[in-house]
Structures are given as structure tokens and as C-alpha cells.
């Protein structure tokens, strides 16, 4: 897990995702092409059901697209086996989920240390990096607290720090401001932008909130599975 510096961040090329078949066929993504450079922060905006989460699922190596190619860092995702997809997620991808998605039993520092533990064991290096990230998101003082003792904004900052733990090439944020008020939402988005620039992660944030886009390097609109 060395710092990943790659020439390519995330590349989606003609990606189509379909569910069901025949009359029940749903096209969640329709010929989506998107390239995100390392350190670039792209916001994808669209209403509910426009395919934003499907985009993240495909870009995050959670599912294979029906058609099209996905490249994460220098790895071609298409045709990769499930086991290798999991490894890709462990080593190359960071997720920021809605409302943090923090297991209730883990104190803040352990939320971060879970990531290296999934890859084997927690090294002294990983511990130091966790502390560095906690400082970067301003939660050093709350490293021992559990999620229920944190505010919504703090939870989301933990989620962001955890997403950075594996030094990801690609950082994906799924409606990270959904549970937050205006001021905290802006703080989180700014922090996300800052961290993606600083750590060179190709970052995609999906949101339905059009007022949060000032920090984005690029804004892409999504409707009915197509990018506009």
C-alpha cells in the first residue's frame, strides 16, 4: 500500500448497465463515458433514480457493467473475477457513504484501522497514517469515541478519513451530505475536494444538491442513465 501515483485515475468508456430482461429491462447506465484524472474532483449531479449510485457501483468495482470498459488506476476491471474485484476495492478504491456508514461498535480510530485489517494486519505505519488522517479531518480529540457519540458532520468526516486509509487511486462519495445541514455539508464537500487534490485521488461525488458544486473541478449532470 504505497502512495499510488498513476497517470490515469478512473476511466469509464461506453459503460452500460442493465437490470432484468425483456419487458422488465431497466437501463441504469446508458453509454456512459467519463474520465477523472488523479487529483481531480468531479461532481455528478442528478435527481433520484438518474443512475448516480449505479455509476458509483460500476466505478467502485462492486458490479460489472453489462457493456463497456472500466479502468481503475492502471487496472482493467472488465473480466476481473469477484475475488480480484474485492482486492481492487481493498487496495485502490475509497468509498464515502451516505451518513458515514460506520459500524456502531467501532471507536473512531478503529473505523480507520478496519481498512488495513481487511488486508491482513495493522502495521505501525497504518496506525501512524490513521492518526495523520484523523488530524487532517480534525477528529484527533475524538479518536476514542463511538459513532453514536458523534454529530452527523463528524461521522461523515470519519467516513472520509476511512476512505483515504488505503491511499486510494479512486475516491467515490455517495451523497456524502445527505444527512447534513447546509453549513456542515459545505464543510464536508470542501474537505473532500481538499483531500482529493492533496492525495492525488481521482474523485467522484454524486449528489442531488446543486448548491454544493463550487469546490468541484468539473460538474457533470446525469439524467436517465446518461451523462449530459
Amino acid at each position: 500500500m504505497t502512495a499510488t501515483v498513476t497517470t490515469t485515475g478512473l476511466a469509464l468508456d461506453g459503460v452500460t448497465l442493465e437490470y432484468g430482461s425483456g419487458d422488465t429491462l431497466v437501463t441504469a447506465l446508458d453509454e456512459v463515458t467519463l474520465t477523472v484524472e488523479p487529483g481531480q474532483f468531479v461532481a455528478v449531479v442528478g435527481p433520484s433514480g438518474s443512475g448516480k449510485s449505479s455509476l458509483l457501483a460500476v466505478a467502485g468495482a462492486l458490479i460489472h457493467p453489462t457493456r463497456g470498459r472500466v479502468r481503475i488506476a492502471d487496472v482493467e476491471v472488465s473480466g476481473t473475477k469477484a475475488r480480484d474485484l474485492a482486492e481492487l476495492r481493498r487496495t485502490r478504491i475509497g468509498y464515502v457513504f451516505q451518513s458515514g456508514n460506520l459500524p456502531a461498535s467501532l471507536p473512531v480510530r478503529d473505523q480507520l484501522l478496519l481498512v488495513p485489517h481487511l488486508s491482513g494486519r495493522i502495521t505501525a505505519d497504518a496506525r501512524a497514517y490513521a492518526d495523520e488522517l484523523l488530524e487532517a479531518v480534525g477528529l484527533t480529540a475524538k479518536a476514542g469515541r463511538r459513532p453514536h457519540e458523534l454529530s452527523g458532520g463528524e461521522r461523515q468526516r470519519v467516513g472520509l478519513a476511512r476512505a483515504l486509509m488505503n491511499r486510494p487511486a479512486v475516491l467515490l462519495a455517495d451523497e456524502p451530505t445527505a444527512a447534513l445541514d447546509r453549513r456542515r455539508a459545505r464543510e464536508i464537500v470542501a474537505l473532500l475536494a481538499e483531500q482529493s487534490h492533496r492525495r492525488g485521488a481521482a474523485t467522484v461525488m454524486v449528489t442531488h444538491d446543486t448548491e454544493l458544486l463550487d469546490s468541484a473541478d468539473r460538474v457533470v449532470h446525469m439524467r436517465d442513465g446518461r451523462l449530459e
Binding site: 449510485s53 474485492a86 468509498y95 456508514n101 459500524p103 461498535s105 455517495d174
Partner: protein
């Protein structure tokens, strides 16, 4: 065990409740093994401690062989010639009532007739051994617990045979009745059942021929049972053992389902966490190892604590209520613990299926 331990600590109330249930089941399981062994002891300890390996009963007799079989003790000589048999000696077994001559105390006894000096004649713990030509008997622990001691005399009802107690032996019960070892001739007079000197034919009777060694070919016509097989012919033994077995069986089944149901509910509760770990690239193997470790921590600690408590209870019962048929035997306790743990893990396997079927996509909220 990164998540497992933290979840255990965080949800300690829920896990404690579960642990208490498993622990109480372990207490019950240990009490039941104690009771089962106590009942075996009380039922057939006289057969268990018998130095013979096989018993040759009368051919053709069915049902309770110990009360119905009748053989000629002279056959022992022929049996000792049979290949495989090292020694053979007649054995008598009959239930009787007796009174202690001085105190008038009533006792139920199982009288075992053995030839003094034969391999069946027990070594007394205290007092003297059986002696031919006398009616002196050895009494077992159940009678000494009731206050019968060397020097007392038991008077058998009906036959009025007087049995001076000359020595004592340890546990030797038969059908939950205290055993008394008597010389074969004395036993034959009790078996005859009437006062006065019995006819000569009464002395040509024994219950079976006890054999040391498994008889080969050329054996006389007989029903030969190993001593263990003969347990089932002692009164109540089969019924008691099958009752105990059934109770234990259901206890294990209940425990399996309790543990299984708990971990299924628990796993459903942590579905989000499982989806998260899988989305972060954790393997199914990682989650399963974690969950199994958690199940084992709960089961082993609860079972060990429960078994220790159960063993303590059995010891307490043994010391305060010696009349209760209960025994502390380590082997079956360890078996019961292993069964509880193994079946608990088996029950929890149902929960593991929920782990493997959890879709990492669940971690992405809302619309997709």
C-alpha cells in the same frame, strides 16, 4: 476478530443474555449427565464391578433374565473347559426384604450368591471375606449409608435366614436396591424362600454361570450375554436410560436452535456492517472467520462457566443428599460440553449463510 471482539464489547448486554441461556443449558446438561451416571451406578453398579466378562443364562428364557433364569451350578465345571473361558463360577441374584435383628430396621436387598474363594467373591473394604459353611455376608455402601454395620444381623423375610454382617464393600447396587454378597449356599436357601432346611434340589440352582473370557465353540446350551449387555435385564435400566437419553437429546436440540436463532437475528441486525465490510473489499472468508470466532468465544465461555457451576451443584448434591442417585464423572461432562459447543456452531452456520448472501451493493444507499 477485529469486529467480533468490538461487537462483543459493544453489544455485551445481548451477548450476556445469550451466554446466560447457554450457560444454564450447560448447567442442566451437566446435572443430567450426573443423574444419568448416578442412575447407572444405582441400577447396575453390582454388575459393573463384577470381575466376570460374560454371563451364561438359562436357554430359552425371555424378559428379565436375572429373575427368570435358573441354571445348575454344577455346569460351571463344564464351562471352565470351554475354549476362551479362563474361569467359570455360579452366580445367584435375587431381590429380598430383610430386617435388622436388633433395631428392626426394614431394608430392601439384592442378594448375590457367589462361591467363597471364587473369582466373583469380592474383597471386603472392611471386615472379613465370605467364608464357606457360614451365612456371613458382605454389605454394600447403600446399606452402610443406612447405618448397617459389621456385627449387625439381617433377617430375611419368609425364609428367615439370618445373615450376620461380616464385612463391607463399595458401590454394589442392582435395580436401585442395595447389594449383599452371600455364600452361594446361603443364597440358595434365601431363593428357596421357606423356613427350615430346604430339599436337596434347592441347592442345584443358580441364576447364571459367570464367565471370565468369551466362550468359543463347544459351549453348553445357554444364552451368553456380555456383562454390559446384561445391564438391560436389570429392572428399569432400559427405561431409565432411554428417558435420560431423550431428555438430553432434546436439550441439545433446543440449545442448537437457541444459539442458531440468536446468531441469525444478530447477523440480520448487522447486515449493514457486513455489506460495508464487503464493499470495502473484505472477503467472505474474513467475515466468516470473524463470526465463527465470535460464536466460539460466546459458546466456550458460557459452556465452561455453566459446566463448572453444574459440576459444583452435583458435588453439593452428592455431599448433602447422598441418597440421590447422582455422580460426578468427568468424561460425560466433557462430552456434553463438546456437544453443546459443536451443536451451537452448527446452529450458527445458518447465520453464516446470511453473511455469504449479503450484497455489498447494500452499502451504497438509496437509489441506484
Amino acid at each position: 476478530m477485529f469486529l467480533a471482539l468490538r461487537d462483543l464489547r459493544f453489544a455485551r448486554g445481548r451477548f450476556a443474555l445469550m451466554g446466560i441461556v447457554v450457560g444454564l443449558i450447560a448447567v442442566l446438561a451437566v446435572l443430567l449427565t450426573g443423574l444419568a451416571n448416578g442412575l447407572v451406578n444405582d441400577g447396575v453398579s453390582a454388575l459393573r464391578t463384577m470381575p466376570a466378562t460374560h454371563l451364561a443364562f438359562e436357554p430359552g428364557v425371555q424378559g428379565n433374565l436375572f429373575s427368570r433364569s435358573s441354571v445348575d451350578p454344577a455346569e460351571a465345571r463344564r464351562w471352565s473347559q470351554v475354549p476362551g473361558v479362563r474361569e467359570a463360577t455360579p452366580y445367584g441374584n435375587t431381590l429380598a426384604h430383610a430386617k435388622e435383628a436388633h433395631t428392626g430396621k426394614d431394608v430392601d436387598i439384592a442378594v448375590f450368591g457367589v462361591e467363597p474363594g471364587s473369582f466373583l467373591a469380592p474383597e471386603p473394604d472392611t471386615g472379613r471375606p465370605l467364608e464357606a459353611g457360614t451365612d456371613g455376608v458382605l454389605v454394600s455402601r447403600k446399606l452402610t449409608d443406612e447405618g448397617i454395620k459389621v456385627g449387625d444381623t439381617l433377617v430375611v423375610e419368609r425364609s428367615e435366614v439370618r445373615l450376620p454382617v461380616v464385612g463391607t464393600v463399595g458401590d454394589a447396587s442392582y435395580g436401585h436396591v442395595a447389594g449383599v454378597y452371600a455364600p452361594l449356599k446361603t443364597w440358595q436357601r434365601i431363593q428357596y424362600g421357606l423356613p427350615g432346611e430346604p430339599p436337596a434340589a434347592a441347592f442345584e440352582v443358580a441364576t447364571a454361570i459367570a464367565l471370565d473370557g468369551e466362550p468359543g465353540s463347544g459351549a453348553p446350551d445357554a444364552q451368553v450375554l456380555s456383562v454390559e449387555e446384561s445391564y438391560g435385564h436389570s429392572p428399569g435400566y432400559t427405561a431409565e436410560q432411554s428417558t435420560m437419553k431423550m431428555i438430553q437429546f432434546f436439550l441439545y436440540v433446543i440449545s442448537m436452535f437457541v444459539v442458531g436463532a440468536f446468531f441469525v437475528v444478530w447477523t440480520v441486525q448487522r447486515k449493514d456492517e457486513i455489506a460495508l465490510v464487503r464493499a470495502l473489499g473484505g472477503s467472505v472468508g474474513y467475515l466468516v472467520r470473524d463470526a465463527v470466532a465470535q460464536v466460539l468465544v460466546v459458546l466456550v465461555s458460557a459452556t465452561v462457566a455453566g459446566a463448572a457451576l453444574g459440576a459444583g451443584l452435583v458435588a453439593l448434591i452428592m455431599s448433602t443428599a447422598p441418597a440421590m442417585p447422582i455422580a460426578l464423572v468427568p468424561g460425560p461432562i466433557v462430552t456434553a460440553m463438546a456437544l453443546l459447543i459443536a451443536l451451537g456452531v452448527l446452529g450458527a452456520v445458518a447465520a453464516l449463510r446470511k453473511i455469504t448472501s449479503t450484497d455489498p451493493l447494500l452499502a451504497l444507499g438509496g437509489n441506484r
